[in-house]
Symmetry: C2
Subunit: 319 residues, 2 copies
């Protein structure tokens, strides 16, 4: 049985994973989820990326938005607003609230996030093993200029409230340097046959996971194909606002530049979209095998084909 490890952010990672399950239904898939955009709201611990993966694979996602629960209502949030309690900019729905209530209660009882995540997944049966990158607290902060002052804001405030509309001067996964990979993470990497980077944000999703000491090294040393898919198509993000945070780390917002940013020490193969076929030579010059294939995740079959292409590239690398 093929063992696949996937480093996943939110919407892009979750949708790719759904394609991967179709492409490789018998594979043993371990997902290492980003927790850098976790946030405490209303006294509750919210893990947006873990939940997006869990809801998407478990059949509970809002398909149109790509995050949150389907058939959602917002009565708790409306009542909190009536008490003058915010933030109002974060869309926590009633059904979603229950997840955060269960999580917060279990964390309060002393369970680590990895065990809490397993307990939540017992309901959703995502068909993959979903591990948080770490049980320790990591919080991605973004340095921006607000009201004439440079301030560090929580990633969610930058992403959701400010909609990445101001320049990001720096992106810092606060606490990552002291964090330990969650139980199972390094073992899964060491035992993997393939490691995949889905078209997730290379800075605040995959980049944050790689910032946990031991994970990047484990992947580089695993001696198995590491293949990624470009989140940029025609130099623009397919979903989200990856270009905004790439600028903050001095990386050009192109498919080739992201591959070079990961580097040949980490990445063996890279898929770019067919519209970016011209960038294949530049990626291969950097020592990374590259193929141009359709990378728009429009529909289950297109997404499954992307996963097949990634696995095929991995086999090419291995041969």
């Amino acid at each position: 049985m093929q063992r696949i490890v996937v480093l996943a952010g939110g919407v892009g990672g979750a949708r790719f994973l759904r394609g991967l399950r179709v492409a490789a239904p018998d594979a043993d898939v371990t997902v290492i989820g980003n927790t850098g955009d976790d946030i405490h709201l209303f006294g509750l611990k919210v893990c947006p990326d873990l939940d997006t993966v869990m809801y998407t694979l478990g059949g509970g996602i809002d398909e149109a938005k790509g995050w949150g629960r389907e058939d959602e209502s917002f009565r708790v949030k409306e009542e909190l607003a009536a008490y003058g309690v915010g933030p109002g900019w974060f869309g926590l729905g009633d059904r979603d609230f229950a997840t955060h209530i269960v999580r917060t209660q279990m964390l309060g009882a002393g369970y680590p996030l990895s065990e809490v995540t397993a307990a939540l997944c017992a309901r959703w049966e995502p068909g993959v093993r979903l591990l948080p990158m770490t049980d320790d607290r990591v919080e991605t902060h973004v340095a921006v200029d607000l009201d004439g002052e440079r301030r560090a804001v929580h990633f969610q405030e930058y992403w959701v409230r400010l909609r990445a509309s101001v320049e990001a001067h720096a992106v810092v996964p606060v606490g990552a340097d002291q964090a330990k990979p969650a139980p199972g993470v390094l073992d899964a990497i060491a035992e993997a046959d393939v490691v995949l980077f889905p078209p997730s944000n290379p800075v605040v999703s995959v980049g944050t996971i790689l910032a946990v000491p031991g994970i990047r090294e484990g992947i580089a040393d695993a001696g198995v194909p590491v293949v990624g898919l470009s989140p940029l198509v025609g130099d623009a993000p397919v979903h989200g606002m990856a270009d905004k945070v790439l600028a903050a780390i001095g990386v050009e917002a192109t498919a080739a530049a992201v591959a070079r940013h990961y580097g040949s020490g980490l990445l063996d193969g890279w898929l770019v979209d067919t519209v970016d076929a011209g960038s294949v030579p530049a990626v291969e010059e950097a020592g990374i095998r590259c193929r141009a294939v359709p990378l728009m995740m429009d529909g289950p079959e297109a997404t499954a084909q992307m996963a097949r292409d990634a696995l095929a590239l991995a086999e090419e690398v291995r041969a």
Copy 2:
């Protein structure tokens, strides 16, 4: 301006208070609320009696049930059940959840319950000053036989889950002996012109409030009329199951027995329903002035009249 102090439980107390506001619109009313049936559910602090008073006077109550929010939904609770997280027997609605989230967050930030209650009331504007009897933790437990063993269960488990269907051998307000009256409670009593006991449960509502050291003494020493209304009409509780817990403390479930239980050291006047007019002499023999008036709180005007009757009896006592 007349200063009135009312010791209130849940539904009965709240409805009486609404009548009192109609009967004495210019009075300065302080409500000392029972917190003995507070419970922690899903990691949240729930104060059923305080909320019933707040919602009823603030116009947010479910009129049919007498507790909880009007136009309520139960999506969070359904989702919690889907996670296998209970208890399912406690009816926490979506709109109600927001109250408990705000309260729990404020308590976690270090505010005492009395300040949290004031903050919540800033939204509801109940037209009275609502004080919890204490900022300390008091939890009413009931001794029952379950599965062949005597056990102490939380009052809510006895009341809501078991529906008072098993014999209560004892009712204990755990922690009351160590509790201090909340800020403002003793001052309000000392400055009151009248103290009223609405037709609330004499054991688990008014009795619990009186169990906080200093409150009973403060009322007895205030030197002002103390008038109560019988929660029993025709020897049966108008609302709730007061007879079940009266047995536990060895008090007969009659209007007269409840008056004697409070005693002439505390109570100056007592209203019984007209169907219990025959018990007036027995109450007066115990040194408590007694009148028989309609005590069914069916509608705002009937309830306002009860409040007028109580205030009139207080003036009779004073004269």
